[in-house]
Protein backbone atom coordinates (compact mmCIF):
# COMPACT_ATOMS: atom_id res chain seq x y z
CA UNK A 1 0.00 0.00 0.00
CA UNK A 2 1.80 3.15 -1.17
CA UNK A 3 1.74 5.88 1.49
CA UNK A 4 3.11 9.35 0.84
CA UNK A 5 3.74 12.11 3.35
CA UNK A 6 3.54 15.46 1.58
CA UNK A 7 5.77 16.96 4.27
CA UNK A 8 8.48 14.73 2.78
CA UNK A 9 7.53 13.98 -0.84
CA UNK A 10 6.61 16.82 -3.24
CA UNK A 11 3.10 16.79 -4.75
CA UNK A 12 4.59 16.50 -8.22
CA UNK A 13 6.42 13.26 -7.33
CA UNK A 14 3.25 11.69 -5.90
CA UNK A 15 1.25 12.73 -8.97
CA UNK A 16 3.92 11.29 -11.28
CA UNK A 17 3.79 7.99 -9.42
CA UNK A 18 0.00 7.93 -9.81
CA UNK A 19 0.27 8.83 -13.51
CA UNK A 20 2.69 5.92 -14.04
CA UNK A 21 0.16 3.29 -12.90
CA UNK A 22 -0.85 0.74 -15.57
CA UNK A 23 -4.61 -0.03 -15.90
CA UNK A 24 -4.17 -3.46 -14.24
CA UNK A 25 -2.08 -2.19 -11.33
CA UNK A 26 -2.08 -4.13 -8.08
CA UNK A 27 -1.28 -0.95 -6.14
CA UNK A 28 -4.94 -0.05 -5.79
CA UNK A 29 -4.95 1.64 -2.38
CA UNK A 30 -3.03 4.89 -1.87
CA UNK A 31 -2.70 7.04 1.21
CA UNK A 32 -1.61 10.68 1.15
CA UNK A 33 -0.82 12.33 4.47
CA UNK A 34 -0.23 15.97 5.47
CA UNK A 35 -1.75 17.70 2.44
CA UNK A 36 -1.74 21.03 4.40
CA UNK A 37 -3.77 22.81 1.74
CA UNK A 38 -1.31 22.08 -1.07
CA UNK A 39 -2.60 22.48 -4.61
CA UNK A 40 -3.18 19.98 -7.44
CA UNK A 41 -3.05 16.81 -5.33
CA UNK A 42 -4.14 13.72 -7.28
CA UNK A 43 -4.73 15.59 -10.51
CA UNK A 44 -4.95 13.59 -13.74
CA UNK A 45 -5.19 10.05 -12.35
CA UNK A 46 -6.22 7.50 -15.01
CA UNK A 47 -6.42 4.21 -13.12
CA UNK A 48 -9.04 2.39 -11.02
CA UNK A 49 -7.39 3.04 -7.64
CA UNK A 50 -8.59 4.26 -4.24
CA UNK A 51 -6.83 7.36 -2.91
CA UNK A 52 -7.33 8.48 0.70
CA UNK A 53 -6.14 12.03 1.43
CA UNK A 54 -5.88 12.71 5.13
CA UNK A 55 -6.42 16.43 5.69
CA UNK A 56 -7.42 19.65 3.96
CA UNK A 57 -6.43 20.10 0.31
CA UNK A 58 -5.82 23.24 -1.79
CA UNK A 59 -6.89 23.99 -5.34
CA UNK A 60 -7.96 21.52 -8.07
CA UNK A 61 -7.68 18.30 -6.04
CA UNK A 62 -8.75 15.32 -8.15
CA UNK A 63 -8.97 17.46 -11.28
CA UNK A 64 -9.41 15.59 -14.58
CA UNK A 65 -9.87 12.36 -12.64
CA UNK A 66 -10.59 9.20 -14.64
CA UNK A 67 -11.63 5.95 -12.92
CA UNK A 68 -10.12 6.65 -9.47
CA UNK A 69 -12.04 6.96 -6.20
CA UNK A 70 -10.56 9.83 -4.24
CA UNK A 71 -11.64 10.53 -0.68
CA UNK A 72 -10.62 13.76 1.04
CA UNK A 73 -10.77 13.61 4.83
CA UNK A 74 -11.08 17.36 5.20
CA UNK A 75 -12.02 20.50 3.26
CA UNK A 76 -11.18 21.16 -0.39
CA UNK A 77 -10.05 24.44 -1.98
CA UNK A 78 -11.16 25.99 -5.26
CA UNK A 79 -12.05 23.69 -8.18
CA UNK A 80 -12.12 20.27 -6.54
CA UNK A 81 -12.69 17.56 -9.19
CA UNK A 82 -12.70 20.17 -11.94
CA UNK A 83 -13.12 18.62 -15.36
CA UNK A 84 -13.53 15.13 -13.88
CA UNK A 85 -14.16 12.48 -16.56
CA UNK A 86 -15.21 9.46 -14.47
CA UNK A 87 -14.69 7.92 -11.04
CA UNK A 88 -15.59 9.47 -7.71
CA UNK A 89 -14.31 12.34 -5.61
CA UNK A 90 -15.69 12.51 -2.07
CA UNK A 91 -15.03 15.59 0.08
CA UNK A 92 -15.82 14.80 3.69
CA UNK A 93 -15.72 18.46 4.76
CA UNK A 94 -16.65 21.66 2.89
CA UNK A 95 -15.63 22.59 -0.65
CA UNK A 96 -14.58 26.05 -1.79
CA UNK A 97 -15.82 27.70 -4.95
CA UNK A 98 -16.19 26.12 -8.40
CA UNK A 99 -16.46 22.54 -7.11
CA UNK A 100 -16.87 20.13 -10.03
CA UNK A 101 -16.41 22.92 -12.58
CA UNK A 102 -16.68 21.75 -16.22
CA UNK A 103 -16.87 18.11 -15.07
CA UNK A 104 -17.70 15.69 -17.89
CA UNK A 105 -18.53 12.57 -15.88
CA UNK A 106 -18.20 10.72 -12.60
CA UNK A 107 -19.63 11.60 -9.21
CA UNK A 108 -18.57 14.36 -6.81
CA UNK A 109 -19.91 14.02 -3.27
CA UNK A 110 -19.52 16.86 -0.75
CA UNK A 111 -20.57 16.04 2.80
CA UNK A 112 -20.51 19.68 3.95
CA UNK A 113 -21.27 22.91 2.09
CA UNK A 114 -19.98 24.03 -1.31
CA UNK A 115 -19.21 27.72 -1.86
CA UNK A 116 -20.05 29.88 -4.90
CA UNK A 117 -20.18 28.59 -8.47
CA UNK A 118 -20.60 24.90 -7.60
CA UNK A 119 -21.00 22.96 -10.87
CA UNK A 120 -20.21 25.95 -13.09
CA UNK A 121 -20.30 24.84 -16.73
CA UNK A 122 -20.76 21.18 -15.73
CA UNK A 123 -20.87 18.90 -18.75
CA UNK A 124 -22.13 15.55 -17.52
CA UNK A 125 -20.76 15.15 -14.00
CA UNK A 126 -23.18 14.38 -11.18
CA UNK A 127 -22.66 16.41 -8.01
CA UNK A 128 -24.29 15.70 -4.67
CA UNK A 129 -23.92 18.27 -1.88
CA UNK A 130 -25.24 17.25 1.53
CA UNK A 131 -25.05 20.81 2.87
CA UNK A 132 -25.82 24.03 0.99
CA UNK A 133 -24.34 25.63 -2.11
CA UNK A 134 -23.26 29.24 -2.66
CA UNK A 135 -24.29 31.90 -5.15
CA UNK A 136 -24.15 31.48 -8.92
CA UNK A 137 -24.04 27.69 -8.81
CA UNK A 138 -24.60 25.73 -12.04
CA UNK A 139 -23.88 28.83 -14.12
CA UNK A 140 -24.05 27.81 -17.81
CA UNK A 141 -24.35 24.17 -16.74
CA UNK A 142 -24.70 21.97 -19.80
CA UNK A 143 -25.33 18.38 -18.70
CA UNK A 144 -25.45 16.24 -15.57
CA UNK A 145 -27.27 16.58 -12.25
CA UNK A 146 -26.57 18.88 -9.31
CA UNK A 147 -28.34 17.53 -6.21
CA UNK A 148 -28.43 19.67 -3.07
CA UNK A 149 -29.84 18.50 0.25
CA UNK A 150 -29.57 21.97 1.82
CA UNK A 151 -30.19 25.42 0.36
CA UNK A 152 -28.97 27.17 -2.78
CA UNK A 153 -27.59 30.74 -2.93
CA UNK A 154 -28.56 33.56 -5.27
CA UNK A 155 -28.78 33.29 -9.07
CA UNK A 156 -28.99 29.51 -9.20
CA UNK A 157 -28.62 28.09 -12.71
CA UNK A 158 -28.01 31.39 -14.47
CA UNK A 159 -27.90 30.85 -18.27
CA UNK A 160 -28.25 27.11 -17.74
CA UNK A 161 -28.37 24.70 -20.70
CA UNK A 162 -29.48 21.08 -20.22
CA UNK A 163 -28.10 20.23 -16.77
CA UNK A 164 -30.70 19.52 -14.09
CA UNK A 165 -30.70 20.91 -10.56
CA UNK A 166 -32.50 19.24 -7.65
CA UNK A 167 -32.72 21.20 -4.39
CA UNK A 168 -34.35 19.99 -1.18
CA UNK A 169 -34.03 23.26 0.77
CA UNK A 170 -34.67 26.89 -0.17
CA UNK A 171 -33.43 28.59 -3.29
CA UNK A 172 -32.49 32.22 -2.62
CA UNK A 173 -33.13 33.20 -6.24
CA UNK A 174 -33.02 31.72 -9.72
CA UNK A 175 -30.69 33.12 -12.37
CA UNK A 176 -31.67 34.26 -15.82
CA UNK A 177 -33.46 31.60 -17.90
CA UNK A 178 -33.61 29.10 -15.02
CA UNK A 179 -37.08 27.92 -13.97
CA UNK A 180 -38.67 25.33 -11.74
CA UNK A 181 -39.98 22.36 -13.69
CA UNK A 182 -42.27 19.44 -12.82
CA UNK A 183 -40.41 16.17 -12.31
CA UNK A 184 -41.18 13.44 -14.84
CA UNK A 185 -40.74 9.75 -13.96
CA UNK A 186 -37.41 9.87 -15.83
CA UNK A 187 -36.23 12.81 -13.69
CA UNK A 188 -37.29 11.01 -10.50
CA UNK A 189 -35.34 7.96 -11.58
CA UNK A 190 -32.26 10.05 -12.34
CA UNK A 191 -32.43 11.77 -8.93
CA UNK A 192 -32.95 8.43 -7.16
CA UNK A 193 -29.94 7.11 -9.08
CA UNK A 194 -27.63 9.90 -7.89
CA UNK A 195 -28.83 9.51 -4.28
CA UNK A 196 -28.26 5.77 -4.48
CA UNK A 197 -24.77 6.09 -5.99
CA UNK A 198 -23.87 8.53 -3.23
CA UNK A 199 -24.91 5.96 -0.65
CA UNK A 200 -28.03 7.82 0.48
CA UNK A 201 -30.50 4.98 0.47
CA UNK A 202 -33.70 6.22 2.01
CA UNK A 203 -32.14 9.16 3.89
CA UNK A 204 -33.37 11.67 1.34
CA UNK A 205 -36.73 11.23 -0.37
CA UNK A 206 -37.20 12.08 -4.02
CA UNK A 207 -40.53 13.74 -3.17
CA UNK A 208 -38.79 16.31 -0.95
CA UNK A 209 -36.85 17.85 -3.86
CA UNK A 210 -37.81 20.50 -6.38
CA UNK A 211 -36.30 20.49 -9.84
CA UNK A 212 -34.88 23.40 -11.82
CA UNK A 213 -33.69 23.63 -15.40
CA UNK A 214 -33.51 25.80 -18.48
CA UNK A 215 -36.45 27.81 -19.85
CA UNK A 216 -34.57 27.58 -23.17
CA UNK A 217 -35.22 31.21 -24.03
CA UNK A 218 -31.57 32.28 -24.30
CA UNK A 219 -30.13 29.53 -26.50
CA UNK A 220 -30.07 31.83 -29.52
CA UNK A 221 -29.72 35.55 -29.58
CA UNK A 222 -33.05 37.28 -29.84
CA UNK A 223 -33.33 41.04 -29.71
CA UNK A 224 -36.36 40.88 -27.42
CA UNK A 225 -34.17 39.26 -24.77
CA UNK A 226 -31.44 41.89 -24.92
CA UNK A 227 -32.02 42.97 -21.35
CA UNK A 228 -31.50 39.43 -20.09
CA UNK A 229 -28.06 38.84 -21.57
Amino acid sequence: MPTHDLNVTPVRAVNEALHGLPPDTNETFWQIDNPQGKHAIGVGIDAPVDVEINGHVGYYCGGMNKLASIRIHGNAGTGVAENMMSGTVHVMGDASQSAGATGCGGLLIIDGDAAARCGISMKGIDILVKGSIGAMSAFMAQAGSLVVLGDAGAALGDSIYEATIFVRGNVQSLGTDCIEKPMTPVDRERLAGVLHRAGLNGEAKVDDFRMYGSARQLYHFHVDNIASY
Binding site: Q36, G37, K38, H56, G58, Y59, N75, G77, T78, G93, D94, S96, Q97, A115, A116, G134, A135, M136
Partner: protein, 298 residues
Protein backbone atom coordinates in the same frame (compact mmCIF):
# COMPACT_ATOMS: atom_id res chain seq x y z
CA UNK B 1 -2.69 37.59 -7.60
CA UNK B 2 -1.46 38.67 -4.09
CA UNK B 3 -1.83 36.92 -0.77
CA UNK B 4 -3.39 38.15 2.43
CA UNK B 5 -3.06 36.91 5.98
CA UNK B 6 -4.70 38.29 9.10
CA UNK B 7 -4.76 37.31 12.72
CA UNK B 8 -6.90 38.65 15.55
CA UNK B 9 -6.12 37.13 18.93
CA UNK B 10 -8.98 36.39 21.30
CA UNK B 11 -6.77 34.79 23.92
CA UNK B 12 -4.41 37.33 25.59
CA UNK B 13 -1.92 34.57 26.42
CA UNK B 14 -1.17 34.25 22.72
CA UNK B 15 -0.09 37.91 22.34
CA UNK B 16 3.65 37.21 22.66
CA UNK B 17 3.30 34.76 19.74
CA UNK B 18 1.49 37.13 17.36
CA UNK B 19 4.55 37.99 15.27
CA UNK B 20 5.72 34.43 15.04
CA UNK B 21 2.29 33.22 13.90
CA UNK B 22 1.91 36.06 11.40
CA UNK B 23 5.34 35.64 9.87
CA UNK B 24 4.79 31.91 9.37
CA UNK B 25 1.45 32.67 7.69
CA UNK B 26 3.06 35.33 5.51
CA UNK B 27 5.77 32.99 4.21
CA UNK B 28 3.18 30.40 3.07
CA UNK B 29 1.75 33.06 0.73
CA UNK B 30 5.07 33.69 -1.09
CA UNK B 31 3.88 31.99 -4.29
CA UNK B 32 0.91 34.36 -4.45
CA UNK B 33 3.08 37.42 -3.99
CA UNK B 34 6.85 37.16 -4.39
CA UNK B 35 7.44 40.86 -5.25
CA UNK B 36 7.05 42.54 -1.91
CA UNK B 37 5.54 42.05 1.50
CA UNK B 38 4.19 44.12 4.31
CA UNK B 39 2.79 43.75 7.76
CA UNK B 40 0.77 45.86 10.19
CA UNK B 41 1.05 44.92 13.84
CA UNK B 42 -1.06 46.30 16.69
CA UNK B 43 1.19 46.15 19.71
CA UNK B 44 1.63 47.93 23.01
CA UNK B 45 0.64 51.58 23.03
CA UNK B 46 -0.19 54.55 25.13
CA UNK B 47 -3.33 56.71 24.77
CA UNK B 48 -1.25 59.89 25.12
CA UNK B 49 1.40 58.94 22.59
CA UNK B 50 1.69 58.34 18.89
CA UNK B 51 3.96 55.87 17.18
CA UNK B 52 5.21 57.19 13.85
CA UNK B 53 6.59 54.49 11.58
CA UNK B 54 8.96 55.92 8.97
CA UNK B 55 10.99 54.40 6.17
CA UNK B 56 14.55 55.56 5.74
CA UNK B 57 15.96 55.75 2.20
CA UNK B 58 18.73 53.41 1.06
CA UNK B 59 22.19 54.67 1.91
CA UNK B 60 21.19 56.45 5.11
CA UNK B 61 21.99 54.85 8.43
CA UNK B 62 18.77 54.93 10.50
CA UNK B 63 20.87 55.09 13.71
CA UNK B 64 22.39 58.36 12.56
CA UNK B 65 18.97 60.03 12.61
CA UNK B 66 18.40 59.59 16.35
CA UNK B 67 20.30 62.66 17.51
CA UNK B 68 18.93 64.75 14.64
CA UNK B 69 15.36 63.87 15.67
CA UNK B 70 16.07 64.66 19.34
CA UNK B 71 17.39 68.08 18.30
CA UNK B 72 14.37 68.76 16.08
CA UNK B 73 11.96 67.86 18.86
CA UNK B 74 13.96 69.56 21.58
CA UNK B 75 13.92 66.42 23.71
CA UNK B 76 15.22 62.88 23.58
CA UNK B 77 12.51 60.48 22.42
CA UNK B 78 12.24 56.75 21.96
CA UNK B 79 13.43 55.67 18.50
CA UNK B 80 13.42 52.01 17.58
CA UNK B 81 15.17 50.83 14.45
CA UNK B 82 13.96 47.78 12.52
CA UNK B 83 15.98 47.41 9.31
CA UNK B 84 14.96 50.26 6.96
CA UNK B 85 12.12 51.44 9.22
CA UNK B 86 12.21 53.51 12.40
CA UNK B 87 9.46 53.95 14.95
CA UNK B 88 9.35 57.24 16.88
CA UNK B 89 7.17 57.29 19.96
CA UNK B 90 6.17 60.90 20.58
CA UNK B 91 3.66 62.75 22.71
CA UNK B 92 0.69 64.34 20.97
CA UNK B 93 2.41 67.73 21.48
CA UNK B 94 5.62 66.53 19.87
CA UNK B 95 3.79 64.98 16.91
CA UNK B 96 3.54 68.26 14.95
CA UNK B 97 7.28 68.98 15.34
CA UNK B 98 8.09 65.43 14.28
CA UNK B 99 5.95 65.81 11.14
CA UNK B 100 7.62 69.19 10.44
CA UNK B 101 11.02 67.52 10.66
CA UNK B 102 9.73 64.78 8.35
CA UNK B 103 8.63 67.34 5.75
CA UNK B 104 12.12 68.87 5.77
CA UNK B 105 13.70 65.43 5.36
CA UNK B 106 11.17 63.98 2.92
CA UNK B 107 13.84 63.17 0.32
CA UNK B 108 15.36 60.69 2.77
CA UNK B 109 12.59 59.67 5.14
CA UNK B 110 9.07 58.65 4.21
CA UNK B 111 6.00 58.50 6.38
CA UNK B 112 4.52 54.99 6.59
CA UNK B 113 1.96 55.06 9.39
CA UNK B 114 0.83 56.65 12.64
CA UNK B 115 -1.13 55.31 15.55
CA UNK B 116 -1.19 54.62 19.26
CA UNK B 117 -0.70 50.91 18.66
CA UNK B 118 -0.17 50.22 14.97
CA UNK B 119 3.21 49.89 13.26
CA UNK B 120 3.55 49.08 9.55
CA UNK B 121 6.58 47.56 7.89
CA UNK B 122 6.78 46.95 4.16
CA UNK B 123 9.54 46.35 1.68
CA UNK B 124 10.30 44.93 -1.74
CA UNK B 125 11.52 41.33 -1.74
CA UNK B 126 10.49 37.77 -0.98
CA UNK B 127 8.11 37.61 2.01
CA UNK B 128 10.50 35.35 3.90
CA UNK B 129 13.34 37.89 3.55
CA UNK B 130 11.10 40.83 4.40
CA UNK B 131 9.77 39.09 7.53
CA UNK B 132 13.30 38.22 8.64
CA UNK B 133 14.70 41.73 7.98
CA UNK B 134 12.08 43.34 10.16
CA UNK B 135 12.16 40.64 12.81
CA UNK B 136 8.39 40.13 12.55
CA UNK B 137 8.62 36.88 14.52
CA UNK B 138 9.65 38.84 17.64
CA UNK B 139 6.70 41.22 17.58
CA UNK B 140 3.98 41.02 20.22
CA UNK B 141 0.48 42.31 19.82
CA UNK B 142 -3.27 41.89 19.75
CA UNK B 143 -3.81 41.63 16.00
CA UNK B 144 -2.01 42.02 12.72
CA UNK B 145 -2.41 41.92 8.97
CA UNK B 146 0.06 40.91 6.28
CA UNK B 147 0.20 41.05 2.51
CA UNK B 148 2.34 39.48 -0.19
CA UNK B 149 2.21 41.31 -3.47
CA UNK B 150 2.32 40.21 -7.09
CA UNK B 151 2.10 43.57 -8.83
CA UNK B 152 -0.28 43.80 -11.78
CA UNK B 153 -1.39 47.43 -12.02
CA UNK B 154 1.55 49.46 -10.75
CA UNK B 155 5.29 49.16 -10.24
CA UNK B 156 7.07 46.97 -7.70
CA UNK B 157 8.02 49.65 -5.20
CA UNK B 158 7.86 49.96 -1.45
CA UNK B 159 5.21 52.67 -1.81
CA UNK B 160 3.05 50.25 -3.79
CA UNK B 161 3.33 47.53 -1.14
CA UNK B 162 0.49 46.93 1.30
CA UNK B 163 -0.79 47.52 3.99
CA UNK B 164 -2.03 51.01 3.20
CA UNK B 165 -2.77 53.38 6.04
CA UNK B 166 -4.77 56.55 5.58
CA UNK B 167 -5.71 57.22 9.19
CA UNK B 168 -4.32 56.69 12.66
CA UNK B 169 -4.31 53.04 13.65
CA UNK B 170 -6.18 52.18 10.44
CA UNK B 171 -4.88 49.92 7.73
CA UNK B 172 -6.15 47.94 4.79
CA UNK B 173 -4.85 45.20 2.55
CA UNK B 174 -6.50 44.33 -0.72
CA UNK B 175 -6.49 41.45 -3.17
CA UNK B 176 -8.16 42.41 -6.44
CA UNK B 177 -8.49 45.63 -8.37
CA UNK B 178 -10.92 48.55 -8.31
CA UNK B 179 -12.29 50.09 -11.48
CA UNK B 180 -13.63 53.40 -10.14
CA UNK B 181 -10.71 54.35 -7.90
CA UNK B 182 -9.83 57.52 -9.82
CA UNK B 183 -13.33 58.95 -9.43
CA UNK B 184 -13.50 57.96 -5.75
CA UNK B 185 -10.03 59.45 -5.16
CA UNK B 186 -11.14 62.79 -6.61
CA UNK B 187 -14.24 62.77 -4.41
CA UNK B 188 -12.20 62.01 -1.31
CA UNK B 189 -9.61 64.66 -2.19
CA UNK B 190 -12.40 67.22 -2.27
CA UNK B 191 -13.33 65.96 1.20
CA UNK B 192 -9.80 66.79 2.33
CA UNK B 193 -8.07 63.42 2.21
CA UNK B 194 -4.52 63.21 0.87
CA UNK B 195 -3.15 60.26 -1.08
CA UNK B 196 0.49 59.41 -1.58
CA UNK B 197 0.20 56.95 -4.50
CA UNK B 198 -1.88 56.26 -7.60
CA UNK B 199 -2.76 52.87 -6.13
CA UNK B 200 -6.40 51.67 -6.12
CA UNK B 201 -6.03 49.99 -2.72
CA UNK B 202 -4.99 53.25 -1.08
CA UNK B 203 -8.31 54.69 -2.28
CA UNK B 204 -10.20 51.88 -0.53
CA UNK B 205 -8.28 52.62 2.67
CA UNK B 206 -9.03 56.33 2.29
CA UNK B 207 -12.70 55.65 1.71
CA UNK B 208 -12.99 53.75 5.00
CA UNK B 209 -11.01 56.43 6.86
CA UNK B 210 -13.41 59.05 5.49
CA UNK B 211 -16.51 57.07 6.51
CA UNK B 212 -15.16 56.41 9.98
CA UNK B 213 -14.21 60.09 10.39
CA UNK B 214 -17.90 60.83 9.82
CA UNK B 215 -18.73 58.61 12.76
CA UNK B 216 -19.57 55.35 10.98
CA UNK B 217 -18.47 52.11 12.58
CA UNK B 218 -15.95 49.87 10.82
CA UNK B 219 -18.80 47.49 9.98
CA UNK B 220 -21.02 50.25 8.52
CA UNK B 221 -18.11 51.78 6.58
CA UNK B 222 -17.44 48.45 4.91
CA UNK B 223 -21.15 47.94 4.18
CA UNK B 224 -21.36 51.28 2.39
CA UNK B 225 -18.20 50.50 0.41
CA UNK B 226 -20.21 47.80 -1.37
CA UNK B 227 -22.24 50.60 -2.98
CA UNK B 228 -19.41 53.04 -3.61
CA UNK B 229 -16.42 50.92 -4.67
CA UNK B 230 -16.64 49.09 -7.98
CA UNK B 231 -14.39 46.23 -8.91
CA UNK B 232 -13.27 43.01 -7.37
CA UNK B 233 -11.78 42.80 -3.95
CA UNK B 234 -11.15 40.96 -0.79
CA UNK B 235 -10.37 43.51 1.94
CA UNK B 236 -8.89 42.82 5.34
CA UNK B 237 -8.98 45.88 7.58
CA UNK B 238 -7.47 46.70 10.95
CA UNK B 239 -8.38 49.42 13.42
CA UNK B 240 -7.00 50.06 16.90
CA UNK B 241 -9.28 47.43 18.42
CA UNK B 242 -10.98 45.90 15.40
CA UNK B 243 -10.45 43.49 12.54
CA UNK B 244 -12.77 43.04 9.57
CA UNK B 245 -13.10 41.17 6.28
CA UNK B 246 -15.19 41.93 3.20
CA UNK B 247 -15.44 40.23 -0.21
CA UNK B 248 -17.07 41.73 -3.29
CA UNK B 249 -20.58 40.56 -4.28
CA UNK B 250 -19.35 37.87 -6.63
CA UNK B 251 -16.44 36.80 -4.41
CA UNK B 252 -13.83 36.94 -7.16
CA UNK B 253 -10.84 36.61 -4.90
CA UNK B 254 -10.19 33.69 -2.59
CA UNK B 255 -10.67 33.85 1.15
CA UNK B 256 -10.78 31.38 3.98
CA UNK B 257 -11.12 31.95 7.69
CA UNK B 258 -10.69 30.04 10.91
CA UNK B 259 -12.07 30.82 14.35
CA UNK B 260 -11.21 29.17 17.64
CA UNK B 261 -11.20 30.25 21.29
CA UNK B 262 -7.66 31.56 20.71
CA UNK B 263 -7.96 33.49 17.45
CA UNK B 264 -9.75 34.59 14.31
CA UNK B 265 -7.51 34.05 11.29
CA UNK B 266 -7.77 34.97 7.64
CA UNK B 267 -5.86 33.54 4.69
CA UNK B 268 -6.10 33.79 0.92
CA UNK B 269 -5.67 30.02 0.96
CA UNK B 270 -5.89 27.31 3.57
CA UNK B 271 -2.09 26.91 3.40
CA UNK B 272 -1.80 30.17 5.33
CA UNK B 273 -3.95 28.78 8.14
CA UNK B 274 -2.32 25.34 8.19
CA UNK B 275 0.65 26.70 10.19
CA UNK B 276 -1.50 27.96 13.11
CA UNK B 277 -1.58 26.18 16.46
CA UNK B 278 -4.53 23.79 16.89
CA UNK B 279 -5.93 24.67 13.45
CA UNK B 280 -7.38 21.17 13.24
CA UNK B 281 -9.74 22.09 16.09
CA UNK B 282 -10.72 25.54 14.72
CA UNK B 283 -13.92 26.19 12.77
CA UNK B 284 -12.78 26.73 9.17
CA UNK B 285 -15.19 28.56 6.85
CA UNK B 286 -15.30 30.58 3.69
CA UNK B 287 -16.64 34.14 4.10
CA UNK B 288 -19.80 34.84 2.07
CA UNK B 289 -19.79 37.41 -0.74
CA UNK B 290 -20.86 40.98 0.15
CA UNK B 291 -20.97 40.15 3.86
CA UNK B 292 -19.05 42.10 6.48
CA UNK B 293 -17.26 40.04 9.11
CA UNK B 294 -15.96 42.12 12.01
CA UNK B 295 -14.47 41.46 15.42
CA UNK B 296 -13.57 43.96 18.14
CA UNK B 297 -11.60 43.91 21.35
CA UNK B 298 -13.62 45.54 24.08
Amino acid sequence: MCGIVGLFLKNKDRQPELGQMLSRMLVTMSARGPDSAGIAVYGAGDDDKVKLTLRVADGIDPESLKSEIATALGAPIAVRVRSSHIVLTVTRLQEASALDWLRRRKADVQFVSAGANMEIYKEVGLPEHVAREFGVADMHGTHGIGHTRMATESAVTTEGAHPFSTGKDQCLVHNGSLSNHNAVRRTLQREGLAFSTQNDSEVAAGYLTWRMSQGASLRDSLSSSLNDLDGFFTFVVGTRNGFAVLRDPIACKPAIMAESDDYVAFGSEYRALSVLPNIERARVFEPEPATVYAWEHS
